[in-house]
């Protein structure tokens, strides 16, 4: 820590770490601060967070950062230039398009896919899991059987078949991936629900007269969120890889969209002579996936120290 005796900062720290919070806000912030302390002690996790923040910033400011157009190339003067050519840091592809600019714009698509899959799959899994866990009985049995059935399917092949039937396109790729990725979330949400289901505070809420829906939505779901967030973060790398795989097969975003997987596919023809066309997007996918994996690992360790000890 810094050597400066920052008095107000010390005071804020003490306020955050107080054992007797005076308000709900102070308790929440204090808990978040403790998670952050554990998280930031892990260098790799912070590196992961930095990568993801960078990805978000690049996606937001793609228009300002990209030196060239991502879709329109200079066919006459700039075909297949190697990396390091002035003006084209990572080289150009067979259409004379700047690879760096395409990667920068492609970050938007990657984020789009990841966020959309998470936004579709996580709530579905959460709802199925909490309802099954809270209701119990035949509803639980049926919902969990369906979950297990989906869990036993091969994800990539099924996503492939879905994408093939729905037709190529990035939205359909998202739907295909989302359909195959909700079951683990349902499993986790159910397990968490079972642990809080018979606790005193749920009984108290029930006595006050809350309906089952209200209990599930307001009092059970928040308890499942932290494990769910960890799992979703860890899954993001897998989602990116599946999306890139679909793009590689031509089932994701269509040309000339600068989707990273499709970029690898189009560079595949020149791999022997112009290695950079296919190699650069792969490095981008690798770095972003690694970022999500490191972030997820760090979050798991910070949110659940018991598990992290292993």
């Amino acid at each position: 820590m810094s050597a400066l005796p920052a008095a107000p900062r010390q005071g804020r720290r003490a306020w955050l770490l107080s054992n007797s919070p005076a308000s709900r806000l102070q308790a929440r912030l204090g808990r978040a601060y403790m998670v952050w302390l554990r998280f930031s002690a892990n260098g790799l996790a912070v590196a992961g967070l930095a990568i993801i923040l960078l990805l978000v910033l690049v996606a937001i400011f793609a228009g300002l950062l990209a030196p060239h157009s991502p879709t329109l190339g200079d066919l006459a003067g700039a075909r297949l230039l190697p990396p390091g050519t002035p003006g084209y840091l990572l080289g150009t592809d067979d259409q004379g398009r700047d690879i760096l600019s395409r990667l920068i714009y492609g970050s938007r698509l990657t984020l789009f896919v990841v966020v959309l899959v998470a936004v579709i799959a996580a709530p579905v899994g959460l709802l199925v899991g909490t309802v099954a866990g809270y209701a119990g009985g035949w509803l639980d049995a049926v919902l969990m059987r369906i979950t297990d059935i989906f869990l036993a399917f091969p994800k990539l092949v099924l996503a492939l078949a879905f994408a093939a039937a729905l037709g190529p396109g990035i939205e359909n790729a998202v739907i295909a991936i989302a359909i195959t990725s909700w079951p683990p979330y349902a499993r986790i949400a159910r397990a968490e629900t079972l642990t809080v289901r018979n606790s005193d505070y749920i009984a108290a809420v029930r006595l006050v007269g809350a309906s089952p829906w209200r209990i599930v939505l307001r009092h059970v779901m928040p308890m499942c969120l932290s494990s769910l967030i960890v799992r979703v973060t860890l899954d993001m790398a897998g989602i990116i890889l599946t999306a890139a795989g679909l793009g590689f097969l031509g089932l994701g975003a269509q040309p000339p969209t600068p989707e990273w997987g499709a970029m690898i596919a189009s560079g595949r023809r020149f791999i022997l002579d112009q290695w950079w066309v296919a190699t650069m997007p792969g490095i981008a996918i690798f770095v972003v996936s690694l970022g999500f994996n490191l972030l997820g690992d760090g979050l798991r360790d910070a949110l659940d120290p018991k598990e992290g000890a292993q």
């Binding site: 989906f150 078949a161 093939a164 790398a237 890139a244 690898i264």
Partner: protein, 355 residues
């Protein structure tokens, strides 16, 4: 899924038989519902999602009468549940339709291409287990050391690299630059007509026929894609081995074994690893299943004539029955392996036995 390991009083043989029967019935229900679910999904993809399945088969140049006839023949005028029953009957009798691309029955095609995928995934799993388990043990024993960090990073990279990209880069180095490996396909064209496969696993076939030159050629073809798949298996296996080993090394029986004066080597490899091996079997079996699936993207890059190439070729030619047939087969094998891992776990762990 494991049953609770509570100690129960010995029961009569009748009660035991009943418990066993119940367990069997539950297991049978799991199998049947899972497969029905898979069939429902492939049915849904093939019959419900396309706007007009007839168009998908006949194309848009067919006459109105041909379309009406095809509609009747495919049973599309029936209610949906009857269509599903029809589909079930077809699949159960081994009829997965005819591939538009190869003009063969899909079942025949899949029987032809499946051994190639099986051989590749098996090779990958062997590599992954042979390297992954020692690495995981090393990481657990030297926890926190540099070796542990390196193993962790190698594993994390395995979770983060697109497999088809690594395959391309591997080809660039080991085939184009270094000329160490052979490409494309499973076997050199020169041997294609002189070599007669028996089991369809070329490496095994060449060895049992004593054709060592063929075996070497086949090995040079399989070594790169096999090792790449092995790397992804290694990432998973080493990570799980580390975690299971840490769990075992913290147990009291390890302290007892050390106190008894056993060599550290023996404590680790005989005592700890043996107990960690029970959950590890499940991990290895599951990683085998995921390699069968993961080989889809690898096969395309290496022009490996397996089920992955078959499905993707069909995809690019809108050959839906081939795509769905392939999906069904991979799905079935995947489910079977999943169930097998469950059974193996129960068979190996005495605590899960029905008493």
């Amino acid at each position: 899924m494991a049953m609770a390991g509570t100690v129960q009083a010995p029961r009569s043989s009748q009660a035991r038989a009943r418990a066993w029967l119940l367990g069997f019935l539950r297991f049978a229900t799991v199998i049947v519902t899972t497969y029905l679910g898979l069939l429902a999904v492939t049915f849904f993809i093939g019959r419900v999602i396309p706007i007009d399945p007839v168009l998908a088969v006949l194309g848009d140049h067919a006459s109105a009468s041909a379309i009406a006839q095809a509609r009747r023949e495919m049973g599309l005028d029936l209610p949906l549940w009857q269509q599903f029953l029809l589909y079930l009957r077809q699949v159960l009798s081994g009829d997965l339709g005819t591939s538009v691309l190869t003009t063969n029955p899909v079942t025949t095609d899949i029987v032809r291409v499946f051994p190639a995928t099986l051989e590749l995934a098996t090779f990958g799993t062997i590599v992954g287990v042979a390297i992954g388990i020692p690495l995981g043990v090393l990481a657990a024993v030297r926890r926190g050391s540099l070796a542990d960090q390196v193993v962790r990073l190698v594993g994390l990279a395995g979770y983060s690299i697109p497999i088809f990209w690594l395959a391309l880069v591997g080809l660039l180095f080991f085939y184009a630059r270094l000329r160490w490996v052979a490409f494309p396909g499973r076997i050199d064209v020169a041997y294609e007509y002189t070599f007669t496969p028996i089991t369809g696993l070329y490496l095994v076939d060449a060895v049992i026929q004593g054709q060592w030159d063929v075996a070497w050629d086949v090995f040079r073809h399989i070594v790169l894609p096999g090792c790449l798949l092995g790397y992804f298996s290694l990432a998973y296996v080493s990570r799980m081995t580390r975690s299971f080993m840490l769990n075992e090394l913290g147990q009291e029986y390890i302290v007892a074994a050390r106190a008894k004066g056993l060599a550290e080597r023996r404590v680790i490899w005989r005592h700890a690893l043996r107990n960690a091996a029970v959950p590890l079997v499940t991990v290895v079996v599951l990683s085998y299943a995921s390699l069968l699936e993961g080989s889809v993207l690898t096969e395309i890059v290496f022009s490996w004539p397996g089920i992955g190439s078959y499905i993707t070729n069909a995809l690019q030619n809108a050959d839906m029955s081939a795509v769905l047939g392939g999906t069904l087969i991979i799905g079935s094998v995947f489910i079977a392996i999943n169930l097998l891992s469950d059974v193996l776990y129960r068979a190996l762990d005495p605590r899960t036995r029905v008493r």
